[in-house]
């Protein structure tokens, strides 16, 4: 087996492991989020049925506070899709750039929503330095996706040389 094929095989093994890890992380995080949202949702349902609207605002705030985490979950899911795609071997394909871009967008959305929600609910953006970091990584991923798009174009061109 040539060095190149061996390297690709090693990489595909890594991608497969990452895809499995992200699947597990996604499942765990989704369950945690569901557990956090379950009680407020149940209370909200009971209040709406009873016609009691006194605690709706507080419950609504609790649910909205979960939005950034849901968006980060979106980034994890995109990451899983990325590594599942890479496992197939087509490294420099348009889908690679697309998944990286979407992961970045979810991260930016999570960070921005956390900053805004924190500002509205607590009067201050809790953990703002970390959130700015998350947003920066998200933007960087979006830029990297542009590079991968260009690489896919070059690869498509190379594929036409037999």
């Amino acid at each position: 087996m040539t060095d190149e094929k061996q390297r690709l095989q090693t990489l595909q093994g890594d991608f497969s492991s990452m895809a499995r890890l992200l699947t597990v992380l996604f499942a765990f995080a989704a369950l945690s989020l569901f557990a956090e949202a379950y009680v407020p949702l149940k209370q909200l349902g009971a209040m709406l049925v009873a016609g009691d609207r006194t605690g709706i605002r507080a419950i609504g705030e609790r649910l909205i506070a979960l939005l950034p985490a849901i968006m980060l979950l979106g980034a994890v899911w995109q990451g899983r899709l990325l590594f599942t795609h890479l496992e197939g071997g087509a490294l420099l394909a348009p889908e690679t750039g697309r998944h990286v871009r979407r992961s970045g967008e979810w991260m930016v959305a999570a960070a921005v929503s956390a900053l805004i929600i924190g500002e509205i609910q607590h009067g201050t953006a809790v953990g703002s330095a970390l959130l700015v970091g998350v947003a920066a990584v998200g933007f960087a991923l979006r830029s990297l996706a542009g590079v991968l798009d260009q690489a896919a174009v070059i690869q498509a061109d190379l594929d036409q040389i037999v």
Binding site: D157, Q160, I161, V162
Partner: protein, 74 residues
């Protein structure tokens, strides 16, 4: 394109099928078909050498230059 691939002529001369040549040089039949019809952007020297070996010919027997063909620029 200004370069014309005359692989089909050589295949007819040698009375060989494209499928067999593709298998002999380790290329997908689809790619060889694309090469035959000139719908590729280039040929690797390695591929050209394998074709010449299998068909017992020279590169010039597989490629022609048409001076009246379109001049492709970037």
């Amino acid at each position: 394109m200004a370069i014309i691939v005359t692989l089909d002529v050589m295949l007819a001369r040698r009375k060989m099928k494209a499928r067999d040549v593709a298998a002999a040089i380790g290329m997908a039949e689809t790619n060889l078909s694309l090469l035959k019809s000139g719908k590729v952007k280039g040929v690797r020297f390695d591929t050209l050498a394998k074709l010449c070996r299998v068909l017992d010919c020279q590169p010039g027997d597989l490629l022609e230059f048409d001076s009246n063909g379109p001049d492709e620029t970037d």
